[in-house]
């Protein structure tokens, strides 16, 4: 059933290839242009609020700085990662290395379902159980746990996918050398899976930095600096500023809201750069293809 050979066929294949590359470039432009426009909008509207006081003063409700929101965001995200990274990475390893059975399939499935639980539901769940039920009130702990629940499934799945791509012959080589399971996973598979895990963690940071709904009912909001109490004290965060200050009738508040949005994006950018740099340092250059 071979097609009759035509000299034009190779040309057609080249054409299809060329068009496809153009399309993939166009796909990139399709998402890059909105992003650049968003960045431009945010910068333009937040420009009047961008000043050093942003980092030295707390907000006074309609203007001032964002120190309380910046530090609060760092505390909450750190808290969320302290919980979510160990759980997510370990769960991902388990799913990839030992997750072929029914339990693994079930967890993988439930993990995907968990990503579909709206953040507001997680927030309200924590509000009823942790804030009111346990009596922690608005607090760092309630906020961090809620964020962790939201991002764990992403970290677990990215870890799993990363580990599953480590060629099996490397593991087998390890075992053939008499290495223990623990060693094979942490010393042989882990370095290769690390970029993938990192992609997951970075996504988790990005998502948890950008959410408002789960924190309004758990972390509350505070105009003051965090005093270090884990419970019984509300804490500020940047996304609250974006959402609530936009809804106030003051220009200074609007500028602050967009400055906060800009800071969120910059924070994610910085973590991305730091992670890439870290990865370069920790891994030898990939063998040339």
């Amino acid at each position: 059933m071979s097609r009759p050979f035509k000299p034009s066929r190779i040309a057609r294949r080249r054409l299809v290839s060329g068009v496809s590359w153009v399309l993939s470039g166009a796909a990139f432009l399709l998402v890059a242009v909105p992003l650049l426009d968003i960045l431009y909008t945010v910068l333009k509207k937040g420009f009047s609020a961008l000043s050093p006081t942003l980092f030295t003063e707390v907000t006074n409700g309609i203007s001032g700085g964002l120190l309380n929101a910046i530090t609060g965001t760092l505390v909450l995200v750190t808290g969320a990662l302290v919980i979510a990274v160990p759980v997510g990475v370990l769960a991902g390893i388990h799913l990839s290395e030992f997750g072929r059975g029914a339990f693994g399939r079930a967890v993988r499935f439930l993990d995907d379902v968990l990503t579909g639980v709206p953040s507001i539901v997680l927030g309200y769940f924590s509000y009823v159980t942790l804030v009111i039920g346990v009596g922690w009130q608005f607090s760092v702990v309630a906020g961090s746990i809620t964020l962790a629940m939201m991002v764990v499934p992403y970290i677990a799945r990215f870890t799993e996918i990363a580990f599953s791509q480590v060629p099996n012959n490397l593991r087998e080589a390890g075992y053939a050398l008499g290495l223990r399971e623990f060693t094979v996973i942490t010393r042989i598979a882990m370095p290769l899976a690390l970029p993938g895990i990192l992609t997951g963690v970075l996504l988790a940071i990005a998502i948890s930095l950008g959410e408002t709904a789960p924190l309004i009912y758990t972390a509350g909001w505070s105009n003051f600096l965090w005093s270090g109490r884990l419970v019984h004290e509300p804490i500020g965060y940047l996304t609250y500023v974006i959402w609530s200050f936009i809804n106030q009738p003051y220009r200074s508040a609007h500028a602050l809201a967009f400055a906060a949005a800009f800071l969120v994006i910059v924070l994610v950018l910085l973590t991305n750069i730091a992670a890439t740099w870290l990865l370069r340092r920790t891994r030898p250059a990939r063998p040339a293809p």
Partner: protein, 360 residues
């Protein structure tokens, strides 16, 4: 070699994270033992006013730290009840049943707010179209579909109304603006009251092309980019409305007069209901009698539990709230003008102080 460098890198990452955390902790001052913390949460209409009050009050009383949050009236009431917040800000008073369930929660008016009805009809935004309750109800329940409908034309003789479909815009989020707008429709139009009623969100009748928007800025935005639309917007956003070149309608009051909201018409409406305001101050100011009463205004409330957990907090609350309702304190024009609220009439201010005195 590779393994060694990996662990070193990871150690670096852990150390960096630890330093970041410690640095964050380090910037926090140690709270003084005598500081009293008060949490205010709720209405997003009152939130901008609280944000004007708090920094000024904090300068006078540095030992009292008042935290403000804009979350929504329902949340404000719920958190005043649960004790998570000390002050629950609300655009709406509590219902009889809520009062029965939570007799200790006081409904304390702090100021008076109003609302404008705005529209975007090309060519007519620089005049004030006249609208009334039945016409607005008709627009929002889909019975009046076009701008040149006879019912609108009757109210605006001589105005060339366009033959174009109306896009009614409502708030999707729970809002005090929806509360007083739907109260105006309910009180002025029995059919609306029977079919839809009022609340901070209501079950908007299905109108083809009708739009939901979020927050007052969302209303301004949606209205300005949708020609032939109509919207209701909190009076605090008058500047934004002007910047978006929207028209502002004159609204018919109970006496049949068409008015715009301003200091005089809002105050006139409030005065009409001063005598009727009961001791617990739960009353609607919407559709007040009187020739010069603007019909869509309301009390903005602080919901406070009369029984506070400790005496010091109770005293701090009494002091702050008494300051807030005083015309030489929070009710001074320099605060209220910025959000275009109106001060409480003296008798209402006195009633509020009586309620504030119950906090212990």
């Amino acid at each position: 070699m590779q393994k060694f460098r990996l662990t070193q890198g990871m150690r670096g990452a852990v150390a960096a994270a630890a330093i970041a955390t410690v640095a964050t902790l380090g910037t926090a001052p140690i709270a003084s033992a005598r500081t009293i913390d008060i949490l205010e949460t709720g209405s997003t209409l009152l939130y901008p006013l609280f944000n004007l009050w708090v920094p000024v009050y904090h300068r006078m009383h540095p030992e009292i730290r008042i935290n403000t949050q804009g979350t929504g009236s329902g949340t404000g009431i719920a958190e005043a009840i649960s004790g998570v917040a000390q002050i629950g800000a609300s655009d709406a008073y509590m219902s009889d049943m809520q009062v029965k369930q939570n007799p200790a929660i006081l409904n304390i008016p702090l100021a008076i707010s109003a609302q404008t009805i705005n529209y975007n009809v090309p060519g007519l935004n620089n005049i004030h179209l006249k609208l009334n309750g039945p016409v607005l109800a008709g627009i929002y329940d889909g019975q009046i579909r076009d701008w040149n409908n006879p019912a609108i034309q009757r109210l605006n003789p001589g105005v060339r109304l366009p033959d174009h479909v109306i896009t009614p815009i409502h708030r999707t989020d729970g809002s005090g603006d929806t509360f007083i707008f739907s109260q105006y429709l309910s009180f002025s139009t029995p059919a609306w009251n029977a079919r839809v009623g009022y609340g901070t969100t209501i079950s908007w009748p299905a109108v083809q092309g009708g739009l939901g928007a979020i927050g007052n800025p969302g209303m301004v935005q949606a209205s300005s980019q949708t020609p032939y639309s109509i919207a209701y917007i909190g009076v605090s956003f008058t500047r934004e409305v002007a910047r978006a070149h929207l028209g502002t309608a004159e609204i018919e009051n109970r006496a049949g007069m068409f008015l715009l909201p301003n200091l005089h018409t809002v105050e006139a409406a409030a005065q009409q209901l001063v005598a009727k305001t009961p001791r617990d101050e739960r009353i609607s100011l919407v559709f007040a009698p009187g020739k010069f009463s603007y019909p869509i205004i309301n009390y903005e409330y602080a919901m406070v539990n009369a029984h506070q957990a400790d005496g010091a907090t109770a005293i701090a609350l009494r002091n702050f709230l008494s300051w807030a309702v005083n015309t030489r304190g929070g009710n001074a024009a320099r605060f209220l003008n910025q959000v275009r609220f109106i001060a409480l009439p003296p008798r209402i201010s006195a009633l509020s102080r009586q309620q504030i005195a119950k906090i212990h």
